[in-house]
Symmetry: C2
Subunit: 184 residues, 2 copies
DNA sequence: GAGGTATGTCAACAACACTGACATAAACTG
DNA sequence: CAGTTTATGTCAGTGTTGTTGACATACCTC
């Protein structure tokens, strides 16, 4: 079972062995693993969202507003990579339902800085909790070294053009707000 | 495989360091990494699909029919986790367009065994090529040990109830066909 | 004031998922 | 054989999420 047993590169008897983890079969397995893992990974919040009238798009908006309080609409568009019309529909609902507030920018009053209300934070917690539990379980089963490799590969999977920016966002926590037009 | 062990998060002693990879911040970063990596990961085939009248659903069907030639409709439904109405729409197009053929089952003539035509295999290759290239690049940048960890974590991310079955499919290659009702 | 930017909104549309209902053919069961 | 279940296909309706395109308003910058 080569299920996950490609850690040690076997013996250097033939140098080709060192690249066995790059065979098409290995790559295909990685691709399918991504598919199935992501499928279950998103199923947790999806199930909760059903109780509300919300979908995945709402979850993503809530997640990143929680992550970057005060982010502007343009900044959020950048992160999510959707059109403003698409985001606006979602945002309008969340604001109507009292989960998100807008706040006119102090420096630039065209901008709307987005924040979660208490109710918004509640939902965010409710949504992210089972997902965190899943990742926590997977991490602790796999161990710290596996987690390190997991992150390394995922980081490399991100488009090189945006990698730096994305990793800054992921790792950066509450960084600068309102990334109006943050590059690519 | 017991130890869904996460009750013991964070010991007060110096051992705490060992569990630093399980902090909420680390978990949140993992979640976001999954989001961004998957986003770019699917962007390659998506771009190609635009040229055709197809979407992601077609890609998934093509991928798994290629992967398990002769799979039945029910088997495919199981793998994809969608309704038959949803799959049928996609399948009908692919058959009409000559990418997929149906074949009445020998043992059970109600069943339709699905295969890719030459054109179907062509498209499959065209779709999977950039994706494989992305994974190959990520793998080779991260190195074999990281890849091992990547796979370990992803495997643990899959629902425990279906993990065995899924990993059998992923690793098993051309296994038994027509998995009518494979359990979960 | 002109020009560009940030935001919001309307309308139309497409992809893809869902539920529910129904049809057909074949297999299984008593 | 009759009745039931299974595998598949199809029709109709609906919802979420994405897209373009067009347009309006408010505001910053020069």
């Amino acid at each position: 079972m080569s299920a996950s047993g490609l850690g040690e590169v076997r013996r250097p008897s033939a140098r080709g062995d060192q690249l066995l983890f790059l065979t098409d079969e290995q790559l295909r397995q990685g691709i399918e693993l991504m598919f199935f893992a992501y499928r279950d990974f998103t199923s947790d919040p999806d199930r909760i969202l059903e109780d509300y009238a919300y979908g995945r798009a709402h979850h993503r908006a809530i997640h990143f507003i929680n992550r970057r309080p005060g982010v502007t609409v343009a900044g959020l568009l950048d992160i999510l990579g959707v059109t403003k019309q698409s985001l606006n529909r979602v945002l309008r609902q969340l604001i109507e339902d009292g989960l998100v507030t807008q706040e006119v920018g102090a420096r630039d009053r065209r901008q709307r800085h987005l924040h979660l209300t208490e109710a918004g934070r509640d939902l965010e917690r409710r949504l992210s909790e089972p997902q965190r539990a899943r990742v926590r379980r997977a991490y602790s089963e796999a161990g710290p070294e596996a987690v390190s490799g997991f992150r390394k590969v995922l980081e490399q999977m991100i488009d090189e053009r945006v990698r730096k920016e994305v990793l800054g966002l992921v790792g950066g926590g509450r960084g600068p707000e309102g990334e109006g037009s943050g590059g690519a």
